[in-house]
């Protein structure tokens, strides 16, 4: 079963902290989303393995856009 991690707000990807295949734990920091000059961390909502990363650093994203898939 996979879990989609979505953008909590519009902004741009400032930093990616994981790569495909990484094991992550609940609330691990996955990436940093820059919005309104603030660095907003996005955390893992579940334990699992990074199955897919749909963005790269600098990508502009909209709120609720899928960023990462964990399985």
């Amino acid at each position: 079963m996979s879990t989609e991690v979505t953008a909590p707000m519009s902004g741009s990807i400032f930093k990616l902290l994981v790569k495909v295949g990484d094991q992550v734990k609940l609330e691990d920091e996955l990436l940093v989303l820059e919005a309104m000059k603030m660095e907003n961390p996005v955390y893992a909502p579940v334990d699992g393995k990074i199955a897919e990363i749909k963005v790269s650093e600098g990508t502009k994203v909209q709120a609720n856009q899928v960023l990462i898939v964990i399985e």
Partner: protein
């Protein structure tokens, strides 16, 4: 059967819970943050140690049987209650490395007092640059909290080589004597423990307080006996003049005027003279017991209780990275009694929180910035841009102004937790009246008679630093604290560099010239802003009254609350408070 309780129990005994324990993941990923804060703490601690060592070594004073100012404070102040202020204050960068006075809030015999003493290791307590302003901040603090001022006087008078920096001017070293008179007029007693030789300025320092107790070796006088040369008729010194001065000094045997034989035995200015240095401080303790102070039960609304969550969490909650948001309510939950908070209008003006908490059982108001991004807010900018924590918008400014006004009515002291980047700007913000609402908040603060304390958790920026009761709120701000993460500046260095050099860049670019020199100036400006906004700089310049570890914040807030309620000038009966009823609805 006799029954007793705290007042307005249904409102205060159990208030709404706030906060939650940190998760395992939060603890794991914030270790680096703790390390960064520790680094800053070490820098600050090293600076404080440097100031403590200012002047001659303490051993020199100990060898002749004397006590340093730090020895005197340790003996005088109740264990565990000393809250130092202005430890690093030295706005002129004196060669002494300090302003020559040591001060803070502390309890003596169970009563809060503002305590200040001359550092007798530094030129025997001379007047040096920055000292007058330091003393004025301290007398103002006693005035605002309405608690006794305790002086440990040991003052040799003007440092004659630098008289121009201390003697003259509106806020010079003479101004504290008028402040002492003002405190006396207001019914605030000043106790004075007098040591050593105190001529001229030192003499007025000795005579101007309310109660004078002296060491047997102390004197206070209009002038010292040391001015042996008098006027030199030649207008300058030559070899002959120097020879005469040498002889006069060698043969000088006069004792200092104004000794105990005069001011105890003859004039009876001194109420007590003690053989030992400790004896003088024992006398001060005796007098403190006579000072007016209500039992805390008079104003407590519940039994004191520690927060539910450990203070050490604060080093994990407050990010060292200034661009990172955090949960401000989680921070607050580590400061208030039982981690409880009765919030005023939580759904309105959500960029700030306002409400009542208990500190050591006393009711205390809190106002602070929330952090993060607020979609669909502010209402006047919907669709244009989202709100961001740390900024002030229309609703938040209205809420703060109304809350402060109600606190004034209810006599609730206010603690401000600042982490602000400014007030919203632009045409929409102007149409939303933010300029006037910011000043309206200033007016609301000034309109009250409340004591307030301010903590700049991270950023104190632009006019928002002022309107959230920064130290500029002269009539209300008792003191302002910084933390190891404090940065205070008009705007961020990058913003300032862009504002200062943008047009110049355009000009150079259009002329086809190399822009590298302009970029270097811009980057130098950014570095300069960084250097001049760091915690130690803020403390040295007096932007804050002290930098304290996050884990010490609650102790300072307890001191503020306890002192505020010790002998208040005005009382609102707890059962007549309005704010808790407004909050409940």
């Amino acid at each position: 059967m006799t029954r007793k309780q705290t007042p307005l129990r249904p409102y205060f005994e159990k208030m709404p819970d706030i906060g939650k324990p940190l998760s395992e993941a939060e603890a794991r990923r914030t270790n680096e943050n703790v390390g960064l804060i520790r680094e800053q703490e070490q820098i600050i601690a090293a600076e404080i140690e440097r100031v403590r060592k200012a002047g001659i070594p303490a051993e020199n004073i100990h060898k002749r049987g004397g006590m340093t100012i730090y020895d005197r404070l340790e003996y005088l102040v109740d264990a565990g209650t000393w809250r130092p202020l202005h430890s690093l204050y030295d706005p002129q960068g004196n060669e002494e490395g300090c302003t020559g006075v040591v001060d803070g809030l502390g309890k003596i015999q169970g009563r809060w007092a503002v305590i200040i003493g001359f550092d007798n290791k530094v030129m025997a307590g001379a007047w040096i640059a920055g000292q007058a302003e330091n003393i004025l901040m301290v007398t103002d603090l006693a005035k605002r909290l309405h608690v006794p001022l305790v002086w440990i006087t040991n003052c040799s008078g003007v440092k004659l080589m630098e008289q121009e920096s201390v003697y003259a001017g509106r806020r010079s070293n003479g101004a504290p004597f008028f402040r002492h008179a003002e405190l006396n007029q207001l019914g605030i007693p000043i106790l004075n423990a007098i040591y050593g030789t105190n001529p001229a300025g030192g003499g007025y320092q000795g005579i101007s307080p309310t109660i004078l107790l002296a060491h047997e070796g102390a004197n206070i006088a209009v002038g010292g006996a040391g001015i042996v040369g008098g006027m030199n008729p030649k207008g300058q010194f030559d070899a002959e003049g120097a020879r005469a001065l040498i002889e006069a000094t060698r043969n000088f045997k006069a004792k200092d005027p104004g000794r105990a034989e005069t001011h105890f035995d003859q004039t009876a200015y001194f109420r007590e003279v003690h053989e030992t240095e400790k004896g003088v401080l024992d006398g001060i303790k005796d007098y403190l017991r006579m000072m007016p102070a209500y039992d805390p039960v008079m104003f407590r609304v519940a039994a004191p209780a520690e927060p539910k969550y450990p203070a050490e969490d604060l080093n994990r909650i407050l990010p060292a990275n200034q661009k990172r948001p955090y949960d401000a309510v989680q921070f607050l939950a580590r400061l208030t009694d039982a981690s409880e908070f009765m919030e005023y209008r939580p759904d309105y003006g959500r960029e700030v929180f306002t409400g009542i908490a208990k500190i050591d059982g006393f009711p205390v108001a809190f106002i602070g910035n929330r952090q993060g991004v607020f979609p669909d807010y502010p209402e006047y900018a919907k669709g244009a841009y989202p709100g961001v924590g740390g900024k002030h918008y229309r609703q938040g400014l209205i809420k703060q102004g109304a809350f402060v006004t109600l606190c004034g009515r209810d006599n609730l002291p206010i603690v401000w937790l600042q982490d602000t980047t400014g007030i919203d700007v632009g045409d929409l913000a102007e149409e939303a009246e933010l300029l006037a609402l910011g000043q309206s908040l200033v007016y609301s603060i000034e309109q009250t008679e409340l004591a307030m304390m301010c903590v700049v958790l991270r950023k104190g920026t632009a006019a928002a630093h002022y309107i959230m009761c920064g130290p500029q709120a002269n009539a209300n701000n008792a003191f302002t604290l910084g933390t190891p993460l404090t940065e205070i500046y008009v705007m961020h260095g990058e913003t300032a560099a862009a504002a200062s050099y943008a047009r110049r860049l355009v000009k150079e670019d259009e002329a086809g010239r190399d822009i590298a020199p302009v970029l270097e100036k811009m980057n130098q400006m950014i570095r300069d802003y960084q250097e001049k906004s760091r915690p130690v700089y803020c403390a040295q310049k007096g932007f804050v009254d002290e930098i304290v570890c996050l884990t010490e914040l609650r102790n300072y807030i307890k001191a503020f609350a306890g002192a505020n309620y010790q002998n208040p000038r005005s009382i609102t009966p707890v059962h007549q408070l309005l704010l808790p009823r407004i909050i409940k609805g």
